[in-house]
Symmetry: C2
Subunit: 108 residues, 2 copies
């Protein structure tokens, strides 16, 4: 069963959107070298409309949505133990102001 983790990212106070986008690209490029990380995506936030058809959940604003995929809990442990993963997280500290991780599971 694939492990998938969604992340909501907020940029640090004082960092421009352009600089944040640039660092997201660096983080994406670095992800290709991280062991046991099956897939990584990061996308910028384009719009956060509040005119929803059900009651609006008034949170945000956010700057990016990211997602990590792992093939198994063994792979996830391998990822956590990796020095390259630790370097990747060090880079994260340079451009992520606040982070909300959401571990998800399939409906069945």
């Amino acid at each position: 069963m694939m492990i998938r983790v969604v992340y909501l990212l907020v940029r640090p106070q004082g960092m421009t959107q352009a600089k944040f986008a640039e660092e997201c690209q660096v983080h994406y490029d670095m992800s290709h070298n991280v062991p046991a990380l099956h897939k990584y995506e990061v996308r910028l936030v384009a719009d956060e409309p509040s005119d929803t058809h059900v009651p609006f959940l008034d949170i945000g604003p956010f700057d990016a949505v990211a997602e990590c995929w792992f093939e198994s809990s063994e792979k996830y442990e391998e990822y956590l133990a990796s020095d390259i993963r630790k370097e990747w997280f060090e880079h994260g500290k340079t451009f992520i102001g606040q982070l909300k991780p959401i571990y998800t599971r399939e409906l069945h």
Copy 2:
């Protein structure tokens, strides 16, 4: 350019997690009939850890993360105009307590 919208869902007060999961499955099954909707995913929230390596963004809890894919803005307009899409949203009103939509864009 693919249009992708991420949704954070909170179940209504008083609805059990089991009932919410059941309605998410119904909503997923209904999505296959919605015109111009390229892809739809909905996953349940399994865990929301707060021990992040960067400052934690203290929001939530959430019950599900969903995502809609559209192939173009024309397809998105077609989706919005569709009566089947409107029925789908009516079903959404029966099990989504609060909703946060996030329109995303690729880094480049």
